[in-house]
């Protein structure tokens, strides 16, 4: 046994050495780009499609798309950046527009500037603005979160409403319809997570306001849009036309299970809506309801995010080239992800394509993409600032007070006090 080992050992060692050097050679040639993002039906699937396209022309580059929950991506990224060790970080990361300035300002030098490489004039200006600091632009603009009112035609028909009745609604009318839908069908109008201020943000931005003004100062107590938004959410809650949800997956479950008649959210939800083949043909899309205050529109935005390359990445050059090749230039790619995933990209050149003209059988043959594209042009632009997370937390903390009948002005004051203490 001993002899045997002695006889074979050199050979084994030699073999091991040879394979190690072989591995080293392949590692030098094949580059793997690691990407963090969320939503398997949307960002993850789209990034895999983009990776497959790039690998076709660059066979030496492969992609590892890692799927986390959004909050996990954000928290892992923040931890990695704060620790100062780059080993744990990916090469490309997806960041929601609300948080972009926070990362860029808190961790200077952590992200690679792409100003020299990418032609930003071809993108929607508001997307470029959120990733600019001191004249340098840091990311690859990706999807838009233009909002729509998705509704179940079958439920609304049972309640006596035609698709025409769903156009140009006001929020008050929306609530009335909701009450009738519940009366006639027993279904709630919408799912609502009382710990998620998304709906407040949608309504607020539809009237051209945000938690912060153009200079980044807190804009809460004197903000008519926020006041009206809180009022509306309060009315929805007291009219009890919503199914309460605890958390994101629960909220998604309210409409994938067919328990609610409508969804008000960003266009990126389309992939999830369409992931239920048994509901094909039952959905319609209308513009979101409007507030009855000055500056109110039927268009708003929720979320939307962009890709960022880490400065410390070993594959930085390849990562930047990949983003520029696919997301910066590939019009055909944008057509594909629009039709397959409902991704409304922010590359303006991709807006004219044939895909936007197509009718979607899932939505009963409506030209939904053309609609979303039209609404996108009308989204009021606002300054997200760097403290949206803090303001959001303050709003959700006060939502229950609203339902208990506290006057909206007092609620605004409480939100203002909490935000002011948070943003130092």
């Amino acid at each position: 046994m001993d002899n045997l080992a002695r006889a074979y050992l050199p050979r084994i060692a030699g073999l091991a050495l040879a394979s190690v050097s072989f591995l080293a050679v392949t590692a030098a040639e094949a580059k793997e780009i690691t990407i963090w993002c969320w939503d398997p039906n949307f960002n993850v699937a789209i990034m895999k499609e983009a990776g497959a396209r790039y690998t076709k022309t660059h066979p030496d580059v492969t992609f590892n798309v890692v799927d986390f929950a959004k909050s996990d991506v954000e928290q892992k990224l923040q931890t990695g950046l704060a620790s100062g060790t780059a080993d744990a970080l990916p090469d490309i990361v997806l960041i929601e527009d609300y948080g972009a300035q926070k990362y860029l300002q808190s961790f200077p030098g952590a992200f690679a500037p792409l100003s020299g490489t990418v032609d930003y004039s071809g993108f929607a200006p508001y997307k470029v603005e959120v990733m600019t600091i001191d004249g340098q632009v840091y990311g690859m603009p990706f999807d838009s979160g233009v909002t729509g009112l998705y509704y179940r035609k079958d439920y609304l028909e049972q309640a006596g409403f035609k698709p025409e009745d769903m156009q140009n609604l006001t929020w008050d009318r929306f609530i009335e319809i909701g009450q009738q839908v519940e009366e006639k069908t027993g279904k709630k109008m919408m799912g609502l997570d009382p710990n998620d201020a998304g709906l407040v943000r949608i309504i607020m931005q539809s009237a051209g306001q945000w938690y912060f003004d153009k200079d980044g100062k807190t804009n809460v107590t004197g903000n008519p849009a926020l006041k009206a938004a809180l009022d509306t959410v309060g009315k929805i809650m007291s009219a009890n036309i919503y199914k309460p949800a605890a958390g994101w997956s629960d909220w998604v479950g309210t409409f994938t299970s067919g328990d609610v008649a409508a969804v008000v959210t960003g266009v990126w939800i389309t992939g999830t809506v369409k992931a239920q083949p048994d509901q094909a043909g039952k959905w319609g899309v209308a513009p979101i309801p409007k507030l009855s205050i000055d500056g109110a529109t039927h268009a708003s935005n929720l979320g939307g995010s962009s890709w960022y390359v880490l400065e410390s990445s070993a594959e930085k050059a390849e990562a930047i080239d990949f983003l520029n090749e696919i997301y910066g230039k590939d019009i055909d790619f944008y057509q594909t992800i629009l039709l397959e995933r409902g991704a409304v990209g922010s590359l303006l050149a991709a807006r004219g394509g044939a895909a936007y003209e197509q009718a979607d059988p899932f939505f009963g043959g409506e030209k939904v993409w053309q609609n979303f594209s039209d609404w996108l042009a009308k989204v009021p632009s606002v300054n997200y600032g760097i403290f949206t997370n803090e303001a959001d937390t303050a709003v959700t903390a006060q939502l229950p007070a609203l339902t208990q009948g506290t006057p909206v002005d007092d609620v605004l004051k409480a939100i203002d006090a909490e935000v002011s203490a948070q943003i130092q």
Binding site: T79, A82, N195, T396
Partner: protein, 299 residues
């Protein structure tokens, strides 16, 4: 001569001794003392992410004006004041019941009550979330036996959310404390109880006048441990409320607030360090109070 030799031997042993403890001291210094001192230094700084500046006592001033911090502190103290006594008393009662040799299958009961403590924090929180959902097993059971007419909003009402967190941590940690009491009960001489029984002392009086005084050191120990655990409460709240401490910050704890300040909000490591020192001061104060309350008075 003899004197001098002894001195050199003494020094020889001294050096050897120091050499033996040096690696440990080095590791403690590197992984304990250094982070503690560094976090104290950090608590005097403020800024966004890596852009930190010395701020003196600004963070401490900010504590006073921060309604979210006050809310988190109040919640944490509520958990502590309500939950620790309930759990300690429950663990004591369970321990003395399961110490009774006449109970059949007490090993099984002991294991069953201790078992929650070895389950994964995340797994049980997720399970609780499902069980206490509006249409979950708890609400449907309560409705079936006629206790409630409409489901209790466990996760969406500020009061019930607090109750749920207290139920969760009591469920998990009572067995852990019970094991300490069971071990200590084994050390109480059975003859003391026999004498008391012969003298006609009823069971409840034996519990109050014999068991509790003899368990006092262990009760003190478990109280201090539970206090520290409750003040650092994080996992349950994080998992039950998706890291938000909702509804309406009603379940937000200090640890969760530190986490949010560091990882969810605009990162302010300095202020987060200040809040964590609040926990340190609180734990120290409460432990001191508990030792003071449990001191030997008759000495």
């Amino acid at each position: 001569m003899v004197h001098a030799r002894r001195g050199s031997i003494g020094r020889y042993y001294d050096i050897n001794g120091w050499l033996f403890v040096a690696p440990v001291l080095g590791l403690i210094g590197l992984f304990m003392i250094y982070p503690i001192v560094w976090s104290l230094w950090m608590s005097f700084q403020s800024g966004r992410g890596m852009m930190m500046k010395f701020a003196g006592f600004a963070n401490i001033v900010r504590l006073w004006n921060d309604p979210v911090f006050i809310k988190a502190l109040t919640n944490t103290m509520t958990y502590f004041v309500v939950q620790v006594p309930i759990m300690i008393v429950l663990a004591l009662i369970l321990a003395s019941m399961l110490n009774n040799p006449r109970i059949i299958g007490r090993g099984l009961f002991r294991t069953a009550i201790f078992l929650p403590c070895v389950t994964s924090l995340v797994a049980y929180s997720v399970l609780f979330k499902g069980m206490f959902a509006p249409d979950g097993v708890v609400n449907s059971t309560l409705a079936a036996i006629g206790v409630i007419s409409s489901p209790i909003p466990w996760l969406t009402h500020p009061f019930w959310a607090k109750v749920l967190v207290i139920i969760a941590i009591t469920w998990r940690w009572t067995g852990y404390n019970m094991i300490f009491y069971l071990a200590a009960l084994q050390n109480i001489d059975r003859s003391i109880y026999e004498v008391a029984r012969i003298d006609g002392v009823p069971a409840w009086a034996r519990f109050i006048h014999i068991t509790i005084p003899l368990l006092k050191p262990v009760i003190l120990f478990t109280t201090v441990i539970s206090t520290i655990g409750t003040l650092q409460l994080f996992d349950e709240v994080y998992n039950l409320t998706e890291g938000r401490g909702g509804p309406s910050n009603a379940t937000l704890t200090l640890s969760l607030y530190i986490y949010n300040l560091t990882f969810r909000f605009m990162p302010n490591f300095g202020y987060a360090a200040t809040v964590s020192y609040v926990i340190v001061v609180l734990v120290a104060l409460l432990a001191f109070l508990q030792f003071f309350a449990a001191r030997e008075r008759d000495k």
